[in-house]
Point group: C2
Chain length 450, copies 2
Amino acid sequence: MAKNRDTKPLIKAQTLKGFRDYLSAPMQVREHLMEVARDVFRLYGFSPIETPALEYSEILLGKGGEETDKQLFRFKDQGGRDVALRFDLTVPLARFVAQHYNELVFPFKRYHIGTVWRAENPQRGRFREFMQCDFDVIGTRSKRADVETVLVIHDLFQALGFERFTIRVNHRKVLTGIIESLGLAVDPVPVLRSLDKLEKQGPEKVLAELVKRAELSKSQAEQMLDCVVGLSSLRGDNQKVLSRLREQLQSSSQGLEGLTWLEEIVGVAQAVGAEPRVQIDIAIARGLDYYTGTVYETILDELPEIGSVCSGGRYDNLAELYSRQELPGVGASLGLDRLVAAMAELELLKTQQTVSSVFIPCFSDDYYPAYVTLAKQLREKHFVVEVYPEAIRLGKQLRYAERRGFQIAVIAGDEEFHRDVWQVKDLVERSSSEVASENLVDCLETMKSP
Amino acid sequence: MAKNRDTKPLIKAQTLKGFRDYLSAPMQVREHLMEVARDVFRLYGFSPIETPALEYSEILLGKGGEETDKQLFRFKDQGGRDVALRFDLTVPLARFVAQHYNELVFPFKRYHIGTVWRAENPQRGRFREFMQCDFDVIGTRSKRADVETVLVIHDLFQALGFERFTIRVNHRKVLTGIIESLGLAVDPVPVLRSLDKLEKQGPEKVLAELVKRAELSKSQAEQMLDCVVGLSSLRGDNQKVLSRLREQLQSSSQGLEGLTWLEEIVGVAQAVGAEPRVQIDIAIARGLDYYTGTVYETILDELPEIGSVCSGGRYDNLAELYSRQELPGVGASLGLDRLVAAMAELELLKTQQTVSSVFIPCFSDDYYPAYVTLAKQLREKHFVVEVYPEAIRLGKQLRYAERRGFQIAVIAGDEEFHRDVWQVKDLVERSSSEVASENLVDCLETMKSP
């Protein structure tokens, strides 16, 4: 292309620190993930909603802790309103349910795929803008809603093509029950918060933190940690974990109550053949304080180091800051961007530079209407087709097609139109053959990649 | 649900002025529209991209005119950077292409569906946050890229189920040529901007504006308007319009050049059978100054009053502010939110409160695993299935199913399981029958809505 001769200074084309563009290839992966997720959510009767990116700051402040408040993109709008960009999809859901309470049918099952913003320090793959993909059931205390959450996660990862993944489940009351059963009279919240770091930081650091943050004596902390590590090591044998917990929690009514939830999940997972992927793991606590019941994490068995790719849990009261209605619920959130990276690493994606598959070069301007007519026929058969716009050198056109990732090229000029045939070129195998016009569509159908 | 007894003051659950939530029903329509659009774009070889919601303000300022600058949601971020929310997807595309020039293959065909923000006065259906859905081809001066733009619009509306729509096309050089052929030595830009209001404001107001803004004498303005109104009245007979233009533009090389573009579009549209929906309309100019070639508008024949639902055109140089590369291109933008409203009005959508279709009440807790197992089998056949989580009164569960828009309920308790049958209830027809377990899936398949 010609260069622009104008010499006025250019504006530097750059994205903001911590922000990024998605080029076609990764964006196609992202779209694929979102489509699969939507499909699974819909099959379970979840419906989509959308909320604004901007909210009144008072809606968002103080909901995710001090850290999140500091990370808010917050400003005054033209009308002097104190506004901010949402930092997750849960707080907007709470506001949404309170605001539209009378228009909704409960249990309310919604999914929401949307962008959120956090002014984090953009280091090591942390971005300031990312996608969340949440699903929740609001307005029921039934254990079956929790069971369903686990089944949705299960079907989701199966549909995405993962063969080896593990959904780890726990119940916060089981952990509180263990504290109780050990006779430790402490606030369970900091204990749970410390235990949540077991996998990432190891037992020694957690021990130190239990003493420092949770105000346990060293021997109490050791006792607690021993019990949790011991139970966690049984991971993979749900029945054994359940029976050990039943013994341990005899004296804790809270613990026993938590246990019935895990039993329900394991029971139903077994009934539908999902159990091999569902493991009770007593070391899972989730850092977030608002979970009050079951908690979930999902680990890719081949990439455990990237951490949980789908996490969630049950909460007692979603919208207490906005409504006098008590709204218990359960849900989980899929880490889309982390999954895009994981799928690339596990080669679960056909790397394709484009969505296209049949390329029709413009061999001669005279036949352009014929090329477009063929393209139309093929698109009706759901082929992805592109006709090159200009009759430049064929080699150049085919190079373009290869760079774009097209699989097949069909070519015709004077001679071919005269004899009513097309040259069919397999751009991957680099083979070529001549096909009669009347057989072309059938021929391409057989070449179609599955 | 129980009321929350806490009496601390609530935060008012409200969206910002000019912003709105999408509840499930309209959101399903929106998702449907986006899915159809993505499908059509992909079939033509367009690939998706995404850019950040926030950009450096200098990237966005001065690109859409003074009005747009005033409407920017602009602020200083935590690092003191002057940032703003994007107000369209075209300016980010320009920045994107300049920034990633060396990674892209040209002609670069991208689509982008995303949210944009403008602090407009939120009156009469104007919102401050809305979706845009753009597709463009960058880096080619070929007329065929313009032809393809028209064909994509054509296929898009057909795929959306519209039977009666018209794509109006014009070329700015044809209008400039008319000015030239009438011997009017004026700046064509304000003339075109005035003419663009012909359909909305009528000839008298346009006449006044031509005199006031475009500095034409009254008789010159009348001459210009007569010519355009005369040619526009031939709308629907492309060949007649073309031959009249050929006469009119004899003395204007610019006008004749513009004419060849319209001839190419009409010619190919005819070849692929799209011509009945494509009309040359000499009164279409598009208000935006950056269009330099073809321009498009799309009218729903049954709802012309809502204006164009898909508009676009050709521009000479997309990224001149960021790059010395000259990047000509052509594209169009689908008005998603306007279409959601139009489709509702034309009843092109089955109004469904949910995506679900088979409801399994929890008649008895004992059989919950059996319900879930049936649900799993049906989802594998791509039924949308929901199992109610609690064994509350059947009537209440069925009322929930009806409110959610389920079509079928399948019910079984002790007696049914004993006899190995299911009660199948058509919730729409309000009929009911008993079906043997082994025939259930087949029976539901035949009831499946198409």
